[in-house]
């Protein structure tokens, strides 16, 4: 985006009316659906307006890491599918997709919401490994927030597959055993252009963003991961305002998630 057009985005923000008509602290309408992917142990479709992502959880039985013989594993991965935007290219994961994956992964991992000890089947021998994959279907910016929410909703909706006596898994038979989480870590990214802070950037707004901070929280007082992005620095005052705004927004989103099975 050229400088004059960035100025135009900034002027719109300053007037309090964004390019799509939203206010600065307003998310697009959020919808969460779960359990639509028959082949996944847990799945979710999250839409922010027209932007859409899918997340699916697959589980498998694996040998634990030698240094953590009684812990299962959890991993989150995001792929920027070339299907979802002309700006994504085929080939090895881009820096953006790696950052997105890692920020979502860290938010969930560090929240300790998923007790990996529960995933142990036989100490030193067999543990459950959980892999959550996040893919945009209709890319529309703010992939960390959308993907993070979808990943949590997918885990929340999941049931263990049937573990057979020989230690293999029958994926065609789901048990009634739910995957348990003690909390719902929600990432909220606050963007900054000039001295203006706003949430839920579209892909167009993202091109003009100068700095951003992703705050993942499990409740109004507990923050479990941070990621500062963008080329510009943040002042300490910015940082404080961003944390407050992120926690306020996370609370609203958590309420929507609580209404989902």
């Amino acid at each position: 985006m050229n400088q004059e057009m960035k100025e135009h985005v900034k002027a719109a923000l300053r007037s309090g009316v964004r390019l799509d008509g939203r206010k600065l602290e307003e998310f697009r309408p959020i919808t969460i659906e779960t359990g639509m992917i028959s082949t996944a142990e847990g799945s979710a479709r999250v839409k922010f307006g027209e932007a859409e992502v899918l997340a699916g959880l697959k589980m498998a039985v694996e040998r634990p890491y030698p240094d953590q013989p009684d812990s299962g594993t959890l991993m989150v991965n995001a792929e920027l599918l070339p299907m979802s935007s002309p700006e994504f290219e085929s080939g090895p994961p881009s820096m953006d997709s790696i950052e997105t994956s890692r920020v979502i992964d860290r938010g969930i991992r560090e929240s300790k919401a998923m007790d990996t000890k529960v995933l142990c089947i036989e100490k030193g021998e067999k543990v459950w490994s959980m892999a959550v994959d996040v893919v945009p279907i209709n890319y529309g910016g703010n992939l960390i927030d959308m993907g993070g929410l979808a990943a949590i909703a997918a885990i929340k909706s999941a049931f263990y597959p049937l573990l057979l006596e020989d230690g293999t898994v029958d994926y065609h038979q789901k048990t009634k055993q739910k995957v348990k989480m003690s909390a719902h870590p929600i990432p909220v990214t606050i963007c900054k252009i000039g001295d203006l802070l706003f949430v839920d950037p579209t892909d167009e707004e993202e091109k003009a963003v100068e700095a951003r901070l992703t705050v993942t929280s499990i409740d109004e007082d507990k923050i479990c991961s941070l990621q500062k992005g963008g080329d510009s620095p943040l002042t300490v005052e910015d940082f404080e305002k961003m944390i407050d705004l992120a926690l306020k927004k996370a609370k609203e989103i958590r309420k929507i998630l609580d209404g989902v099975k």
Binding site: E7, H8, A12, V17, R18, L19
Partner: protein, 228 residues
């Protein structure tokens, strides 16, 4: 006698049989297979006597001489600029057609047009090799400063512009926005933030309903309703 199986103004799709018998003749968007005339491009059917043709409903922009388009600079060469015009092929803006000023060889071309700048252009030549030459010299042709760009299906541009520009004038008057509609489906807008949002909504509405009748009234009602 041949039999016509679809109606004028109907949306038709590839593989659809339009007519049986040898009386009907295929044209744009249709072809003959044995006794039948079949559609080979998504479009709206028009029946002109015995000739069956379609007007496309989708597809990337195909450059034509004298079209006014909006292009985005993606490369600066010694001899001029290359622009993305939302077509299968990029366009070339040579030095001599860039400005009424004399541009000396070797001068800093980004002073005229820099990367990521949007420019209103006229298509001056499309060669058989699909090389597209454009000019930025002429009435209304210029670099677009500020504002925003939205993308619409280029097949719907004639409806957005309207008869003699009536539709786009309606939106300009109602919203007080400056609007440039490129034949290639890029639309530039500049106005107050609220009014830009309204203008974009109106344009998207025309894009969605382009194949329907009575659109001008609907857009006019929409703009009146939203402004209240």
């Amino acid at each position: 006698m041949g039999e016509l199986l679809a109606k004028e103004k109907e949306v038709v799709v590839p593989g659809q049989v339009l007519a049986k018998g040898m009386d009907f003749l295929p044209s744009h968007g249709t072809y003959r297979l044995g006794e039948e005339v079949i559609v080979n491009r998504l479009g709206v059917l028009s029946v002109e006597g015995k000739v069956l043709k379609t007007t496309p409903l989708a597809g990337r922009y195909i450059p034509k001489n004298d079209d006014i388009v909006i292009g985005k600079i993606f490369d600066i060469l010694m001899s001029g600029w290359r622009l993305d015009i939302e077509s299968a092929y990029s366009a070339m803006l040579p030095l001599k057609d860039a400005s009424f000023d004399y541009i000396a060889k070797g001068s800093d071309l980004s002073k005229y047009f820099a990367l990521d700048d949007y420019v209103v252009l006229k298509i001056v030549n499309v060669t058989s090799q699909n090389l597209v030459d454009v000019s930025a010299k002429g009435q209304g042709l210029r670099k677009l400063r500020g504002g925003r760009i939205i993308r619409v299906n280029s097949a719907k541009v004639p409806r957005i512009i309207g008869k003699k520009g009536s539709m786009v004038s309606l939106i300009k008057e109602a919203t007080d926005c400056k609007i440039v509609v490129g034949q290639n489906g890029l639309v530039w807008l500049q106005g107050s933030p609220e009014m830009e949002v309204l203008a974009v909504k109106a344009i998207k509405m025309i894009e969605d309903l382009a194949h329907k009748q009575g659109l001008t009234q609907q857009v006019s009602d929409f703009l009146k309703g939203e402004k209240k």
